[in-house]
Symmetry: C2
Subunit: 168 residues, 2 copies
């Protein structure tokens, strides 16, 4: 396990949502907190490890947006692009944690700048993929995302999260 895990470049956790709301800026003095929200679609929690190569990103985005995990009204499993449904991307560095005694350690996580760069490009690629998809464009699908480095205050409403882990 140890050897295999060390080679991981990224970890993505997928949940289906009916509605999700994510804080992108906390309240500050008189300024209220800012949120993004999506209606029905896919929540992608994402974490990058040390040594993750940005050349991985196109394949990663392609995989996540095309894996058949979204349920149509007829109960058929299709991709989020084919549903079509919205996408909420949440940076979640904690997903890279490893248990050490009673604590989690994050030594395998990518550094902050590197992680930010990977996350930003990941978001951009998702946006491009959705924009280029005629079904999504026609349906008015949106891609929203959290602020890297922030606390990801999340409210999630599901008809079954149908949680899946995909590692790269």
């Amino acid at each position: 396990m140890a050897e295999g895990s060390r080679m991981l470049q990224a970890r993505a956790l997928l949940q289906q949502c009916l509605h999700a709301r994510l804080q992108i800026r906390p309240a500050d003095g008189d300024a209220a907190a800012q949120w993004v929200e999506v209606q029905r679609g896919l929540v992608i929690y994402v974490c990058f490890f040390k040594g993750a190569d940005k050349e991985l990103l196109p394949k990663m985005v392609n995989t996540l947006l095309n894996v058949k995990l979204s349920e149509t009204e007829n109960g058929k499993q299709v991709s989020i692009l084919d549903l079509p449904g919205n996408i909420l991307i949440i940076p979640q560095a904690t997903l890279g944690g490893r248990l050490k005694g009673r604590n989690m350690q994050y030594h395998s996580n990518s550094g902050k700048e590197e992680g930010f760069e990977l996350y930003s490009q990941f978001v951009t690629l998702c946006e491009k993929e959705v924009a280029a998809n005629s079904k999504c464009a026609k349906a008015g699908v949106v891609v929203k995302h959290g602020t890297y480095g922030n606390r990801q205050v999340l409210k999630l409403d599901t008809n079954g999260p149908y949680t899946h882990l995909i590692e790269f």
Copy 2:
């Protein structure tokens, strides 16, 4: 990776919640759906793999209830038992999925009966652990859980899910 992963016995995904509500029985004719809910605490999604041994369960429960992932009002990380906070256990077989092409496969998951047995004992052990903890008893901490095999219709409200994966 393949070899290492094959030895996995269980996968647990942890999220912190302010409030969570989980359906334990869907609506049926005139009967309304039934739900359980917890206030602030820990959501444990759990999945067992083929070959999981029930002797693993005490260690697994001990690890999950004692890992320091819950934040006190002072920002200190403590265990869910020390917080103390509530626990919501969600059976989530999808966590055992592996990507094959554009589909997820669940060949490594424990069989239904075996998985049900492991899940039931896992829940019982969590309940016992919490009942035996004086802090939890005093605070009126509750342990709630989903119905094995059902669709896990979930509503989750967080101050940051702080998502962690722990494998056994």
